[in-house]
Amino acid sequence: MIERRITFILPQDGFVSWKLNRLKTLGAMFRSVIMLVNVTQMQRANAEQTLQVMALGSREYDLCQLHIEGSDAELACMVMTDFVAEQFTLVNTAHKSNVKTNIALLKQLPTFQLPYTLNFEFKRTILPKEKSDILALISRMLAPQSVVSMYDALLEREAVSSTAIGNQIALPHVVSSLVDTPSLAVIQLPSPLDWQSKLGEVTMVIALALPKPIERPMLQSFTCLTKSLLNPEQCQLLTSSREPEAIKALLIHRLAQPFFPTE
């Protein structure tokens, strides 16, 4: 089954009914099932069930995704991409017109706005690797100037207890003067890898490095992200994502959430 995703931000009027009707009409042209996921609130509804979608309680700046699944998902994605780009703020799409989208341009929106500079790195490995290879790769991504010290710090942490957190995700993390900006390095693996934990193998490694001393906003931000990973649905959204930009959007949004206007 083909699955395509579109990531976007809600405008001030959220999901007004006429947009939902358009979405439903467009959706009815395809055989694919179209799910609407409000990532911010971690709720989902079938896009054809207008009432269900309205019950999501969506607000301005919420991060949302369309999950299009079916034999004609590619085509549906193309059509939906145009619709989303017109009516919402497009963040990322699985469709080829992707070149237009870029999170960096949207970082002033509350959805992604952080009160500090973040260093974000993403890699997808092609060949299966060992845990130590992955930690070495992470060290290079987090601290290119002091790879060996970073590797030792990560290894030391793993020696105390494995950083696998279940739902196919591992979360190596350090607080260290080896970095001077908060850094996030994400690796997507081609196949499940043994992370020496009872919580199972991992397919995605999300590594965090925070500079010393930690400031409260940073801690708030990073614990919001790590707490969100207790939710299996959040983990599944990440591990099943195909586009690096979509993964980046999901992660940065969680980091920004403590600073998100609540009303």
């Binding site: 105390v160 950083t163 790590t226 207790l230």
Partner: protein, 100 residues
């Protein structure tokens, strides 16, 4: 049932708070009153008072390292678990507390 808990991990930026969150959520589902002290990168937060400790039926320590101020729990029923146990199966951790 009343539980007081302490969570801690070596780095104190992730697991401490994840375990605290997991315990609080599971406890409210199972009608257990819980107060969780976190010993993380920001120091001790939501600190347990001597009254909290005196009233609690069980002290739960979820940590991969030696926690701070352990002496205050002397005389209480203490149950120690690893962070991994909390993240794997939080409800069995709570039911073990209940069985003590």
């Amino acid at each position: 049932m009343r539980i007081v808990a302490v969570t801690a991990c070596p780095t104190g930026i992730a697991h401490t708070y994840m375990a605290a969150d997991a315990l609080t959520k599971a406890a409210s589902k199972e009608n257990v009153t819980i107060k969780v002290e976190t010993q993380g990168a920001m120091g001790i937060e939501n600190q347990l008072s001597s009254q909290d400790i005196a009233r609690a039926d069980v002290v739960l320590i979820a940590s991969d390292i030696e926690i701070e101020h352990r002496a205050r729990f002397t005389g209480s029923k203490i149950h120690c678990v690893t962070i991994e146990e909390v993240l794997t199966d939080v409800s069995s951790v709570l039911s073990r507390c209940r069985a003590l």
